[in-house]
């Protein structure tokens, strides 16, 4: 398939960045093995910039690669990001994992990406029922921070309101504690402890994850009830106030645990309690790194 205008703009920016030496690596998307799949590509030579492409199948959050040592060693890096993914870049800067000076952000205006499961069945049209829930609540169609912005050729997503994103949260909130426990026990029962959720997450960057700490072994490693609950709850807790909602954990989960339900619920609670949304400001102090006298404290009895 021929290059779109978007692709051409993208390729030009990457080519210029690599030629001028402003970056030594551009992380972006290239066309995949079929038309409905995009795959990540790592461009180090200007002449390879032609591989870059972008369309509503560019599902993956490429910011995940910024945490890899083999990527970090390139020093100055350019990265192609959608609005959601870009928030991960901001969070990484906030948490000192990358320096703003070392990254060139190629922001893509994005009106939504098509669910991989539907795309694999041939879906190519952006529609309310085809995109991920995160796209329906998206407030960053244009990334909040970028060095280059490429506007979208896609039509804006029309929202009828018939599809309710993250509707599970309301259901959860109406449940009793026992019902919630039972609900999650059933979901976590499926977990096989593959840690794909962690590997796909741009903000799970610890070189030694808490589950790998074995003196003592706080979290049971076997995949049964206790260990599964421990892992999933600690993962969610470590991302509360940090998760930027890209949804990669849930997409990576081979047993379809609704991880975004718990992530979004945490994000909602953090916003309600502290007025904080993650990944919007590289200079903001992360909510769990600050104490304010006005923080609610009615939990102290």
């Amino acid at each position: 398939m021929a290059n779109t205008k978007t692709d051409e703009k993208l390729q030009k920016i990457a080519k210029d960045l690599l030629e001028s030496g402003e970056v030594s690596l551009v992380i972006g998307y290239a066309k995949g093995s079929n038309l409905q799949r995009m795959r990540p590509v790592f461009i180090t030579k200007a002449e390879d910039a032609g591989k870059l492409s972008f369309n509503p199948h560019a599902v993956q959050d490429l910011a995940v690669f910024l945490k890899k040592p083999e990527v970090k060693k390139f020093g100055k890096i350019g990265i192609v990001v959608k609005g959601c993914d870009e928030k991960a870049v901001n969070a990484l800067i906030q948490e000192y994992q990358i320096s703003r000076d070392n990254i060139k952000i190629i922001g893509m205006e994005c009106n939504g990406v098509i669910r991989q499961s539907l795309a694999d069945k041939g879906e190519t049209n952006l529609s309310e029922s085809a995109v991920y829930d995160k796209c329906l609540i998206c407030e960053e169609h244009i990334p909040v921070l970028y060095d280059f912005l490429i506007e979208s050729e896609e039509p804006k997503l029309v929202l009828s309101g018939n599809v309710k994103p993250y509707s599970g949260i309301e259901k959860l909130e109406s449940m009793s504690a026992e019902e919630k426990n039972a609900f999650w026990a059933k979901e976590f029962d499926k977990c096989i402890k593959c840690y794909a959720c962690r590997q796909a997450c741009p903000l799970c960057y610890c070189s030694r994850c808490i589950v790998e700490k074995n003196m003592p072994q706080w979290i049971d490693t076997n995949s049964e009830e206790t260990g599964n609950a421990q892992w999933n709850l600690i993962r969610a807790y470590h991302l509360s106030g940090r998760c930027i909602g890209c949804g990669e954990c849930e997409r990576a989960c081979p047993v379809n645990i609704p991880l975004m339900l718990i992530n979004e619920k945490m994000a909602k609670d953090v916003y309600n309690m502290f007025g904080y949304k993650s990944g919007l400001d590289i200079n903001a102090k992360p909510v769990f790194g600050v104490f304010s006298e006005s923080d609610f404290n009615d939990f102290i009895k």
């Binding site: 070189s207 808490i210 700490k213 102090k285």
Partner: protein, 660 residues
């Protein structure tokens, strides 16, 4: 293999009354690794400690557990005892079965079960103790005293006389604080200036004291032994070293009717270039740029400059930042008087002759606006009848503060006494709630005011004060006779409550010391460490800690000084080794630990290879600042920080001990 000794203390009947100590001892003996278990009436006593030491020696113990009182009480005692037998002192663990068990439970069986559990946890913990070395921090033997009132001056002089350099910082143009505003002082009626000015002069001339007046502490960082201090020396517009204090400048200043004198509590005026009072130390004027015509009218007026012989007035002087490194700090910022505007019924601010106690001090003072003659601010007439109202703001949780301001009973008695001495045939009335006169000579002093000087004391509150035909009508209750009283007075003096100096909360935040809900600095321990703040190396003195009188302020200044001299008697300061420790191999440098650290103890550390190439950045703990509070441990996602003595595996083992 661990060889643990468990020692169960009865604490007389304090523990043994509620906990079956023998049962605790029997259970201890069953735990693998416990080679000795003992119960004894008072473990902290000499025989108790001796048996502990003997058993350490005989059984070659590798760790000991004391099931006893809170570690706050005797952890140190037992650590020292263990150290004498060659055991690392951190191999001593305390199971608190007094404060956490016997004092808070009644059911002996269940209390005993809990005591056994706590003891078991500590046995598992002590098995996993590692030797810890205390941290030694080098000391910069120089002190900073913030606030040059009587407490600060006393502290500075005592430290300086001990041979240590002191930097004394005072916000106002002169040192002397509140005390120099007072007239005679209770209970001996020494003239405040007479006893205070020699101290002020001594502080100014002392070779070990560097005085910064009209200066404020702008920033403080660092830790005990090594505080970095930034002092802002405000632009005085006068070159201090050239000024002779002759007074030509303030005599020449045309602004002599417009500015209220802060020193005389608004009872007189001052010029734009001024010294607050004639005995000011240093006797160097300050030019108040907010009112000076030179600054307000674009440089036209320079009468002071023209009048100045040595030409030491410099309109271009700027604020100056001075940086100093000190090893210890005294915070003695003093107090303000409460704003009494919430007592509208007393008419302060509305009626000129309703004044505060501090204003009355200025009227009494020979250096005051009336040269020591008691005159009404309204018409300059000598009052014949004065009503004194005590507890204005103090002991009034609804409108003011619940605490007692402590000095008002005594200074009111003094005011009534001095009024009787200065205006013969006059009459004073004192409305009081209780009379608090507990120090040496105080009760006799108050008695004297009543009996020899004829002051009439009325127990009750004043409900209203209003003006009528040149008199102030004071309506109040005399609760002892049950009558309502009405007094036609010429003047009313309100014994206004004291509050911490404005801005002292900001200073406390800068220093990292705690303060109570009113803003008074809190002591490390209210009884046993009254001169220490919650932060090592920072000491407290004077009214900044709470209401107190001059002798107490002097004592607290000396106490702070002696603490500092004691600290400086060594070259290093020992900090408990139970501080945070970073696992550099697993730290990913997210610095949440740094964000949550209340002590600024965490910094970034670069790890480089031999060629100097940066390998990674990790968190680094400053042992001088870290208090081992553990906030960083909670914040660390990858569990790359532990607190020594409270290691992850120890906590885990403690929990496991309960599960068995």
């Amino acid at each position: 293999m661990s060889r643990i000794g468990v020692f169960v203390c009865w604490c007389g009947s304090n523990i043994a009354g509620t906990v079956d100590v023998e049962k605790v001892r029997e259970e201890a003996a069953k735990i693998p690794g416990v080679v000795s278990a003992l119960d004894y009436k008072y473990m902290c006593s000499d025989p108790g400690q001796n048996s502990l030491r003997n058993i350490i020696k005989e059984k070659n113990l590798t760790g000991i557990v004391l099931a006893a009182c809170s570690p706050h009480m005797h952890e140190n005692t037992f650590r020292k005892a263990a150290a004498k037998e060659g055991l690392n002192p951190y191999f001593v663990e305390i199971a608190n079965i007094r404060e956490q068990v016997s004092w808070v439970h009644e059911d002996k069986e269940r209390a005993t079960a809990k005591a056994v559990d706590l003891m078991k946890m500590m046995v598992e913990k002590v098995k996993r103790d590692r030797p810890i070395e205390d941290v030694r921090v080098p000391l910069n033997k120089k002190a900073l005293v913030i606030g040059g009132g009587i407490a600060g001056i006393q502290a500075a002089l005592d430290i300086a006389n001990g041979g240590v350099e002191v930097i004394l910082v005072e916000k106002e143009p002169s040192i002397g604080g509140r005390m120099i505003q007072l007239d005679e002082t209770f209970p001996t009626l020494d003239c405040s200036s007479c006893i205070m000015t020699p101290k002020m002069v001594e502080a100014n001339q002392h070779p070990n004291i560097k005085l910064y007046t009209y200066s404020e502490v702008e920033d403080i960082s660092g830790y005990i032994g090594n505080f970095k201090v930034k002092i802002k020396k405000k632009a005085r517009s006068v070159v201090e070293k050239d000024c002779t204090g002759c007074g030509e400048c303030w005599n020449a200043c045309p602004m002599h009717k417009n500015v209220k004198s802060e020193f005389n509590v608004n009872l007189s005026e001052r010029t734009a270039i001024y010294v607050p009072f004639p005995q000011a130390v240093p006797l160097v004027p300050v030019l108040d740029r907010s009112v000076c015509l030179h600054f307000k009218k674009g440089g036209k007026c320079q009468k002071c400059y023209d009048a100045c012989g040595p030409k030491c007035i410099n309109f271009d002087l700027q604020d100056e930042i001075i940086e100093e490194t000190v090893g210890a700090i005294v915070a003695s910022t003093g107090y303000d008087l409460m704003d009494t505007s919430m007592y509208g019924e007393y008419g302060y601010g509305k009626y000129k002759d309703v004044i505060s106690g501090l204003q009355f001090e200025r009227l009494l003072s020979a250096s005051g606006p009336t040269e020591g003659l008691i005159k009404r601010p309204s018409d300059g007439k000598t009052p014949q009848t004065i009503v004194f109202v005590q507890c204005v703001g103090s002991r009034d949780p609804e409108k003011g503060v619940p605490y007692c301001s402590k000095v008002c009973c005594m200074y009111t008695a003094k005011h009534a006494k001095l009024f009787a001495h200065k205006v013969h045939g006059s009459q004073s009335y004192v409305f009081y709630i209780d009379i608090r006169s507990t120090s040496k000579g105080y009760e006799e002093f108050v008695r004297g005011t009543m009996e020899q000087d004829g002051a009439i004391y009325l127990r009750g509150r004043v409900s209203k004060i209003y003006e009528d035909e040149g008199k102030l009508i004071v309506k109040g209750a005399d609760t002892l006779s049950g009558n309502q009283v009405e007094i036609a007075a010429d003047m009313v003096v309100l014994a206004t409550g004291v509050i911490p100096k404005k801005g002292s909360d900001k200073l406390a935040q800068m220093l990292g010391i705690s303060y109570d809900k009113y803003g008074f600095f809190t002591e490390s321990h209210p009884k046993l460490r009254p001169a220490e703040s919650s932060t090592a190396g920072i000491f407290l003195a004077g009214m900044a800690q709470g209401p107190r009188d001059i002798p107490e302020s002097v004592v607290s200044g000396s106490a702070a000084a002696s603490k500092i001299l004691g600290l400086f008697s060594k070259n290093e300061y020992e900090v408990e080794g139970t501080i945070a420790n970073v696992n550099e191999a697993t730290c990913v440098a997210c610095f949440y630990c740094q964000r949550v650290c209340a002590y600024n103890a965490i910094s970034k550390k670069e790890i480089k290879d031999r060629s100097g190439k940066l390998i990674k950045v990790v968190a680094n703990v400053n042992p001088g600042l870290c208090t081992g509070c553990g906030a960083c441990v909670n914040a660390c996602f990858s569990k790359s920080i532990d607190v020594k003595g409270f290691m992850d595996d120890q906590i885990y083992a403690e929990i496991k001990a309960l599960a068995v």
